[in-house]
């Protein structure tokens, strides 16, 4: 059975929207980072779906790069969270208010 590309796309859009909502409403910085990861994975899904549909390999290659970049971003994010936790003892974005948000 061949899954039509629109199914992949619908799932990808739904995941992406969930990620966006998560970033906007959650207050724990770790959860926000996870929601961003979810958005990136939604993009990956769209790439894979299209690559399969068009039989063009560029999309699959793109997914590799998205994954590595996401890992680098998360590593930097975790490092910053640890640094903030040391100086401020919080992981909630509402407490990050020295600079006017």
């Amino acid at each position: 059975m061949v899954v039509p590309v629109s199914y992949y796309l619908a799932l990808s859009v739904a995941l992406f929207a969930l990620g966006v909502i998560g970033v906007l409403v959650r207050r724990n910085i770790l959860v926000i980072l996870m929601c961003i990861e979810m958005m990136l994975n939604a993009v990956n899904l769209a790439f894979i779906g299209f690559a399969d549909h068009f039989k063009a390999v560029d999309g699959q290659v793109f997914v590799f790069f998205v994954m590595t970049v996401a890992a680098a971003e998360v590593a930097v994010g975790l490092a910053l969270i640890v640094a903030i936790f040391r100086t401020r003892a919080t992981v909630y974005v509402d407490d990050l208010n020295i600079l006017k948000w």
């Binding site: 990808s12 769209a46 790439f47 299209f50 039989k55 994010g77 401020r88 600079l99």
Partner: protein
Amino acid sequence: MTLTIPSFTLSSIGPWLTLTGTAILILLVDALSPKGRKAYFPQLSLLGLGIALLQTFRLWNHTGTDFARMVYVDNFAFFFYAVFILGTALTVLISRHYLEDYGKNLGEYYALLLFATLGMMLLAAGAHLIMIFLGLEVMSIAVYVLAGLFREDAKSNEAALKYLVLGAFSSAFLLFGIAMLYGATGGSLYLDDMAARLAQAGALTQPLTLLALALFIVGFGFKVASVPFHMWTPDVYEGAPTSITAFMAVGVKAAAFAAFARVLFLAFPALKVDWVMILWVLAVATMTLGNVVAIAQTNIKRMLAYSSIAHAGYLLVALVAANQLGAVSLLYYLLAYTLMNLGAFGVVILVGRKKDSYLSIYDYSGLGFQHPALAAAMALFMFALAGIPPTAGFVGKFYIFSAAVQAGYIWLAIIGVMNSLVSVFYYLRITVLMYMKPPEAELGPVAFTPALTTVLLVTAVGVLLIGIFPGFLYNLAVNSVKIFPSL
């Protein structure tokens, strides 16, 4: 199965290789040299940047693509290479003393600066959307870390985290846009083919293309700090180390505009009506908000942050014009902005010394009596940012607004000029404070290091020189934008 490896010439990415090599060398020297030994990181970085600049000159007037159509080898890219190298070199020069003040003469600082410059070059030369994405991320991730350089400082941490979260968020939007474009073009990511493929794809993919365009505007709009994606800018600019604020304001913005212009002009000429309309609104909102809010600021870094938002608005006007003069003015203004903004931040570092204790604009009161040379330089940069002749800022704005008029956007030009008038108020306020108010406190001696003196001299002379004789740079820019067939 045998694969043919596409032919390529390494020299066409020579500047990238030099910068990568220098950065890796700095990291290794930093990691392997015994603690407390003074290493020559700034000198090494400047050497690498110098070689990269020479390689860029040697590449000038090459055309076409390389590495299996992944990389553009053209004057548009080379012009931006030169702007990035200039911006990074000036940043290195203003950094050293500043970092030593904080006891942070770190190797990784310079390595990350070079990596960020590399990312900017990838952005300016990327011919494939993977390259553009990679360039954006290499640049951004390096700058996230640089913004959080002062680990013990809660402000610096907070700025870095905000930048990272919002930056990653906007990158995700850009990526989703790329994915939609990949679908709309039927599986191509090369900027070259996009316009043709989108034209023949037909009406069925129109929603996908429009969605992709909107997402691109969100993604790039964030990086260039355009309203309504500007919220991070003042916070991040205030919290980050001052040298990095300068770097972000000139380098990141220029690189994002380079890629933005290339994507809009090469991939979306068919949707010109749509993006011109959206960018028209964004340009007006960005200019107006930046200038109006800047008036209320009393922290010099925050004021310059809003000023940088306003400048993003002027540059968007150049994109809206979407004609040859518009593209030329974009290049000209980005170079001029690099000079005047880095000069202004050089003064901010000199005045703010002792771990940034003097960052209020009232600390500039009476500067003209205590340090006439410094005050004169600051006044010149403020005049340039406000766009008063005979500085580069004036010529740049003149080109931008002429381009808008030429393209028929008279109202946009009028709003732009009115905004410039508003901006004169807060730029001149600094000058008035410096020359007409008694000093609030004795500023004491200012440490003119050779590096900072060089920066102030180069930027001040540059701002005047390209302001009075814009012809040479204008011709270079005209030469650089010939690659866009749709202009």
